[in-house]
């Protein structure tokens, strides 16, 4: 094992590591733009220059460790070179941070203030090129802000393998451009390039000018889009920045979703579907209990449901595979003896959605099938003639399949025509309104946390199951 010295500190490194990796792992920060732990080394931004005794200045990201090498990450020479590189990078950069979505989480901004901080040495006109170039239906490209680190092209070549991006022309008029006949819109992982872009060159159309990032905070969560269960961050407004004047929904909506790095599941990536969870969670919500289409109070609805459960001879439950591990356990504990339970698929693959690939996307488009099947078996739902009560938990069940005389208890989060057809309808919370765990298809358990408060008239399923298990009032 080679021993190297970084700023005088002796470090045992592994052969094959680069100086940058060793330095970062041992608390000696070296700035970098183009280097990314998951991508190949490009070595083109040149900001990770370090000084090696006897060898002068060179980039750390492509420097293999050799025994006894003495590296300095902060010598005067390194500082002046780093400063010059930042001068070069900002030479043609528009510095339009005031209207840039990346401001506040921009690597270039951070490095400029940390390592340069001086105005440009140039007073010549900057090189002008395209702004708001249409890369795909999801992504815009601002070539003036681009520093050509080529993380995005390497991502499409090495990770998503769509080969959708390349570089056109050369010199300071070189531009990132889509490759002919390889549309980025067909790359289900395309939005990751927005995250890995160190500057504000790649812009999400969804998030464009929607909010300054410092008004937002992330809540760790799990993507329910498929059984991979990728770890995500759900970004929403910080309570101290709540706006009183606007529609209150603005304060409790999902502003954007980014991956949360989790080496056990998804690494630093998620697919585009995971970015669009707002389309699932922010559908029109059901917030009123109903009995045969008539609004009733929550306690009345629970009473009615208890009565139906008490009267049923052959009750069947269709278990949601969007329920958390805790909710599934609660059902098993409180109602498992009462109902004959089958696991139901809440969500089917949508038209045009990828079926499965070898990166992240799984064929099962539900988050917790693993745990549900573990508790309730994997036999297909059998609703025989004798079934006289069906408890349907969650969406995805075709009501025309119901046995003719069966009564129905329906638990759902969203407005749907079926809600009114049920004998008892009780609204339940969605994932962003509670915390819990999902077990993914590989058996890895990941936690999600609550982002928003639920309405009082809406139940958490675990609480509801306990309530339903109590005997009906007014009955012997």
């Amino acid at each position: 094992m080679p021993e190297i010295f970084i700023n005088g500190q002796a470090i045992e490194a592994d052969a094959g590591q680069t100086v940058l990796q060793v330095a970062l792992a041992n608390g000696h920060f070296i700035p970098y733009f183009c280097w990314h732990p998951q991508l190949s080394v490009a070595g083109n931004c040149r900001v990770c220059l370090v000084e090696v005794e006897g060898r002068g200045i060179d980039i750390a990201c492509n420097m293999p460790v050799t025994d006894g090498m003495k590296v300095f990450t902060d010598s005067e020479d390194v500082k002046s070179h780093r400063k010059a590189i930042l001068q070069f990078i900002t030479l043609n950069h528009p510095v339009d941070c005031g209207i840039c979505d990346k401001a506040g989480e921009c690597t270039l901004q951070d490095y400029h203030y940390t390592y340069n901080g001086e105005p440009s040495l140039s007073s010549d006109e900057k090189v002008r090129t395209t702004k708001f170039y249409n890369l795909s239906n999801r992504i815009l490209l601002d070539n003036e802000r681009c520093i050509l680190c080529l993380r995005c092209t390497r991502f499409t070549h090495e990770i998503s393998k769509s080969m959708a991006l390349g570089v056109e022309r050369r010199g300071d008029v070189a531009n990132i451009r889509p490759v002919e006949n390889k549309p980025l819109s067909e790359d289900p992982y395309s939005d990751n390039i927005i995250d890995i872009c160190p500057v504000g060159a790649l812009l999400s159309r969804q998030f464009l000018h929607k909010s300054r990032v410092w008004y937002l905070e992330p809540t760790p969560s799990v993507c329910p889009g498929c059984s991979r269960g990728c770890s995500i961050n759900i970004w929403h407004r910080k309570p101290e920045w709540f706006l009183k004047a606007l529609d209150p929904k603005q304060n409790t909506s999902i502003e954007r979703i980014t991956p949360l790095e989790n080496p056990a599941v998804n690494g630093p990536w998620i697919c585009n579907k995971g970015r669009d969870l707002a389309r699932i969670f922010e559908r029109a919500r059901a917030d009123e209990a109903m009995s045969r289409g008539q609004p009733v109070g929550p306690s009345a609805a629970i009473d009615e449901a208890r009565r139906l459960i008490g009267a049923a001879r052959r009750p069947v439950a269709l278990i949601s595979n969007w329920g958390s591990n805790e909710e599934l356990d609660a059902f098993k504990t409180h109602l498992g003896e009462v109902f004959h339970a089958f696991v139901k698929r809440d969500w089917q693959r949508q038209e045009g959605e990828p079926v499965e690939d070898d990166l992240l996307i799984r064929a099962d488009k539900n988050p917790n099938t693993t745990k549900a099947r573990e508790l309730f078996g994997d036999t297909e739902a059998a609703l025989g003639e004798g079934t006289d009560l069906v408890l349907i938990w969650g969406e995805g069940f075709d009501f025309s399949q119901l046995p003719p005389r069966a009564r129905v208890i329906f638990l759902n989060s969203y407005l749907a025509p079926e809600n009114g057809h049920a004998d008892v309808f009780i609204p339940i919370s969605v994932q962003t309104e509670r915390s819990g765990h999902y077990t993914n298809s590989d058996g890895v358990v990941s936690a999600f946390e609550r982002c928003f408060a639920k309405k009082e008239s809406v139940f958490d399923a675990a609480v509801l199951f306990k309530a339903l298990a109590a005997p009906a009032r007014g009955h012997p």
């Binding site: 080394v41 070595g43 083109n44 931004c45 040149r46 900001v47 220059l49 002068g56 200045i57 980039i59 492509n62 293999p64 002046s80 070179h81 010059a84 590189i85 001068q87 070069f88 990078i89 030479l91 043609n92 040495l121 140039s122 010549d124 006109e125 090189v127 520093i147 050509l148 390349g166 570089v167 022309r169 050369r170 010199g171 300071d172 008029v173 070189a174």
Partner: protein, 432 residues
Amino acid sequence: MPGRQLIMSFPVTTTSHTLAEYRKRGGYGALEKALKEMKPSDVTKEVSAAGVQGRGGAAFPMGRKWQVVVPDDGQTHYLIANADEGEPGTFKDRWILENAPHLLLESMLIACYALNVRNCFVYIRGEFDLPYRRLSAAVEEAYEAGYFGEGILDTDLACDIVVYRGAGAYVAGEASGLLASLEGKKSYPRNRPPRLTVRGLYQQPTVVNNVETLSNIAWIINNGAEAFKAVGTPKSPGTRLFSVSGHINRPGVYEVELGYPWMKFLNEDCGGVLDGRDLKCVVPGGVSSHVLTGAEIASLNLSHEALWDAGSTLGSGGTIVIAEGTCMVSLLQVILRFYHHESCGQCTPCRHGTGWMHRIIDRIVAGQGRPEDIDTLYYISKFNDGTTICGLGDAAGYACVGILNKFRDEFEYYIEHKRSRLNGNLECLKSS
């Protein structure tokens, strides 16, 4: 003739480039000698002992490049002749490709034998038309005569060659940029390590040598390393082809034995400066090398060590003669426009630095210069040097600093008076 001739040792006629004529001059004898009398390792030893320095610009010893490659390590090896001659002022490889293509092919075959190469390539500059046609014709002749293919000269040696035309990027003349282009990619140079002799074309060990460098091999095999070292100076053995252009009476390609006095070469062999003017300065080895004033070269010999001592380099042998009365500001503008245009745009300092320098010099020439511009040019040159992936960024800085160091007064005059002291002349006009 400036000393002994190893490459240009025959009279050029309309047919001197053909196989028949080449054979009459003893062509492919060195290949036969190498295949039948020498082991591959002997060839490498002989070439290393001759101490040929690379003729493309960096003067890296060919033997040291070769010794990194282990011929029988089970890997596929490649040999590439770099004929992407793009350095401004350089056109010496063109002479070889036009007039002695078989010399290159024979030398490459010997190299393939030494390095255990099955497939070799010639990466030829896209703008070269006659050289390409001559080389392609020579390859066809050589295949017909059985010098390529399998069972060459009734031995086990098998070798194929591909002539690949570039698409006009200066940076593709850089060895790793060349490989990227040859692989069908944008010609972005690669970071070292790994060196190309470890992982080059298609990630296999690859030797990339300049056309002129390779062309010395046949002579070395025929006459031996000792004979080669007897030519030239002890530190710079052999000869070099110089492509002389600019304000000179007899421009063209000259083979010069290294160590030959420079002024004698210019005045006697090349006919002196145009119109009998005084010599202002000389770009010794392509515009990427520091310029040398007439006074500086007066006592210099044409050898690598002499030029290094004088703070410049023989580079690619592209000698541009500049007569008194030439405006160095306009000259630098032309040079910096070239570097700006040819920067591949991969790494930051060169991508922005070359454009920055070009904009500054454009502004100075337009009469909008500021006194601090000269310092800014120095600043850019300083931080372009050694921070880029390939040498193009360094070279732009060298060219700029070389001229600024020696002709700073012209720039100061231009900035102060908003016009050139020499009327912006680049041409050598008779009336002036």
